[in-house]
Symmetry: C2
Subunit: 156 residues, 2 copies
C-alpha cells in the first residue's frame, strides 16, 4: 500500500515501440464512488481478480482476491457501463520499465506508456525515450476510471 | 429482477415473536455510490456471496456470485466502514411470512420485521399481528445501507 510514483506519456501512432512480453487485459468497474472508492474486476490473460480500493493519499487501502472464470462471468455484465480492453506490453527501459497499453474498442487509437519510479528524484531525472509522445501525467482524463466511461480517446 | 413490494415494522423489546428457523447474517458494503449502486458481501450461515446492484426503479440490475471462505475473508476487511450483523428468523404469517431481524453490535436493541407481497393490493390489505410495533416502511434510516453506517439504532 505504498505511494506510487508514476509518469504517463502518450505513444504516437507508428512509434517504434520495442519488443516485450504482452498480455491481454480486460477490466470493468462494478461500483465507483465520487470519494475514490472502487470495486473492479480484471482478467489478465487467464487470471481473474476482484480489487477494492478505498480512500485517498495516506489512508488508501487496497484488497484483492482471485476469482474463478465462473465468478468473473457472473459479474462481468455488471460492468457494462465502465470497461477497458487493452493489450499491455512490458518494455525494458534502462534501469526502469515501461508499461505500454494499446486500447481497443471505444478507446481504439489510444496508446499510453507508464513508468514507475522508486522515488521522486528518479521520476524527475527520467529522460523519456524518443518513441514517447507528450506527457499526460496527472491528467484526470487519462486515469483508468475516467477512460473506462469515456466515449472515445481523450483529445491530446 | 422484479419490483419488491415490502412493508417493514419495528418489533418492540419483549414482543412474543413466534418460533421459526434462524440464520446468522453478516454483511458489509465494499463500495456504495450515491446514485444507488452498491457492491456487498454477505455470509449467511456458512454461505458467502457477492452482490452488485445498480440503478433505480425499472432499470435496476442485480448480479450475484458465490464466494468461498478465503475470498470472503480477503474482502471482509474492506467493509470495516459499513457492516451489519444480525440474526434472521423466518416466521409464518398466514399466507405471508415475516422476516424478523435482530441486530447485534452497534445496532443492538434494533429488531425489525419485513413482509413481502405479491402485489400492492395485498400489501395494503395486510393487517399486522399484535407483536408488530410501529411501521417504518420507506423510512431511509431503516434501509440496509443506512443501517450499515449508522452509529446506533435509529430513533423510532
Amino acid at each position: 500500500m505504498g505511494v506510487e510514483i508514476e509518469r504517463k506519456f502518450l505513444v504516437p501512432d507508428g512509434a517504434p515501440v520495442p519488443d516485450g512480453p504482452e498480455s491481454e487485459i480486460r477490466q470493468g468497474y462494478l461500483v465507483t464512488d465520487p470519494g475514490g472508492a472502487e470495486a473492479r474486476i480484471r482478467r489478465r490473460d487467464g487470471a481473474c481478480t476482484l480489487t477494492v480500493k478505498r480512500g485517498t493519499g495516506l489512508v488508501r487501502g487496497e484488497w484483492e482476491t482471485p476469482l474463478d472464470a465462473g465468478q468473473f462471468a457472473a459479474l462481468w455484465p455488471a460492468t457494462e457501463h465502465a470497461r477497458i480492453d487493452k493489450t499491455r506490453r512490458t518494455v525494458p527501459l534502462g534501469p526502469h520499465e515501461a508499461v505500454v497499453d494499446t486500447y481497443r474498442g471505444r478507446l481504439a487509437g489510444l496508446r499510453t506508456a507508464e513508468v514507475e519510479f522508486a522515488d521522486p528524484g528518479r521520476a524527475a531525472a527520467f529522460v523519456p525515450p524518443p518513441w514517447f509522445g507528450p506527457e499526460v501525467t496527472g491528467r484526470p482524463e487519462y486515469g483508468n476510471r475516467e477512460l473506462a466511461t469515456a466515449a472515445g480517446p481523450p483529445r491530446p
